[in-house]
């Protein structure tokens, strides 16, 4: 009898744990989604600003992503996003602390408060806006289709990819681009853990084509001595333009503050100067 009771208690405890966890992780379902990704009115204001000013540091979640965030020979983080973040932190009066994260855990890191923002060529989209408050858009991005050079003659445009198998990072803008494309949406598709894993798929010919950020795809394929040199970026547009923004916790008061600072940095030419340094001046957009 005692045994039975203890088993029941265990099961109830397990159920409660699972329930609280899921209800906590799955928040944001009821929030209104905005198309431009800016802060929504439905979410309560999260007071991050106070904490960050008190701790005198902003923890920024990043990955190795040239030319946005990467390390120089001394291990210092440089790149367009890294330098812009340093400037913004200067204006906030805090230090920027760059934290290497695993990209597919970015929103969990944000909600777990182990980072304060995602600033790493983060594409603004509607689904992400359910869990993240975006800053204003500051840079243009597009999705690139990467194929194996052995298939260069077979695949020349979107129509020729009709029967090709596709891969992209789970939940990425690339995945959405495939699913939204009238020709490609029913193709064989596998979602992998990262944009690089998608390239590995194509390299090992387990998938015919990968869809990922143009910035990253072009960099990895064209870099000298690259193991991905057998791949190529297909000269075909799969999506309309999309934009990079900074991701904050849902409803964070930090977003408005940083938007203001970005405008100041745009007005005094700082943003343009950094963009020119990394050859990204053409990709800048006017901050609304």
């Amino acid at each position: 009898m005692k045994k039975k009771i203890s088993i029941v208690i265990c099961l109830v405890l397990a159920a409660v744990t699972v329930f609280t966890l899921t209800s906590c992780l799955g928040n944001g379902d009821g929030d209104t989604k905005t198309t431009d990704g800016s802060s929504t009115t439905a979410a309560p204001v999260v007071k991050d600003l106070e904490n960050i000013l008190a701790n005198k540091k902003l923890v920024i979640g990043i990955t190795d992503f040239e030319p946005m965030d990467y390390q120089d020979a001394n291990g210092k983080w440089i790149g367009f996003d890294a330098e812009l973040a340093e400037k913004v932190c200067e204006k906030l009066g805090v230090t920027a602390e760059f934290k290497l994260i695993i990209w597919d855990k970015n929103i969990i890191e944000l909600n777990g408060k182990t980072i304060d923002c995602i600033w790493n060529g983060f594409t603004i989209d509607e689904d992400r806006a359910a869990n993240v408050t975006f800053s204003k858009e500051y840079m243009i991005n597009r999705q690139a289709i990467v194929i194996h050079k052995d298939n260069a003659e077979k695949f020349t445009d979107i129509a020729s990819l009709n029967d090709a198998s596709f891969t992209a990072e789970k939940g990425s803008a690339g995945e959405k681009a495939i699913k939204a494309n009238a020709t490609l949406k029913d193709n064989k598709y596998v979602g992998v853990n990262g944009q690089i894993d998608a390239l590995k798929e194509v390299l090992s010919k387990t998938s015919d084509a990968a869809v990922l950020d143009y910035t990253m795809g072009a960099y990895l394929v064209n870099k000298e001595g690259s193991d991905f040199a057998k791949l190529m970026v297909l000269d075909a547009e799969i999506t309309a333009k999309e934009y990079y923004g900074i991701g904050f916790r849902k409803g964070s008061d930090l977003a408005d503050k940083v938007n203001g600072i970005l405008k100041e940095l745009e007005a005094d030419g700082t943003i343009k100067a950094i963009a020119e340094k990394y050859g990204l001046a053409d990709s800048l957009v006017k901050i609304k």
């Binding site: 265990c10 966890l21 990467y70 934290k99 290497l100 855990k105 777990g112 408060k113 193991d227």
Partner: protein, 217 residues
Amino acid sequence: MSFFEITLILFQGFLVTLRLFALTLLFSLPLGLIISFGSMSKFKLFSIPTKTFVWIIRGTPLMLQIIVVFYVPGMLFNYPIFKDDRFLAALITFVINYAAYFSEIYRGGIESVPKGQYEAGQVLGLTKTQTFFKVVLMQVVKHILPPISNEVITLVKDTSLIRVIAIVELINAAERFIAKEALLWPLFYTGVFYLAFCGILTLFFNFVEKKLDYYKT
């Protein structure tokens, strides 16, 4: 980047792997013994919670446990304890997880010693504690060495799971070369590190087993 430079950077990642490995063993081996006493206890007050605990730890993936320990304090309690020390979150998870496994190995070892030996000890005027430490313990050590060595070798490779919370251990160090230098081979090269280390451990356990084989002539 030269082969040597890459080996050096991978070795730095390997040091993190080794640190987790050593500290996990240091804390989980004794903790496992305490847990095993708990689950062998005659008092239900001790044995039922301990057994439930071991069931939960052994019944869920280690990767999930790492994620829970690292992220949940900040998510549920608004208190991100591990914000500045990811390694600590990984270490705590590993110590708890491995202690649970070790406790079952200890329990098996202790219960494998026939009850008759305790009775014999009693007849010879030894207390229960004396019997355990002077008669039973060394036999237990001998019995549990093979399963412990198995777990220890599994631990070497389980350390690679901590990359889910973005700690740069060996595998993650190699994966960063893909993003930074567009080099894939360092990822496969990490296998050499694991293989070499497990080889050393295997030799070590063979040696200890031989040393403990004192009844054979």
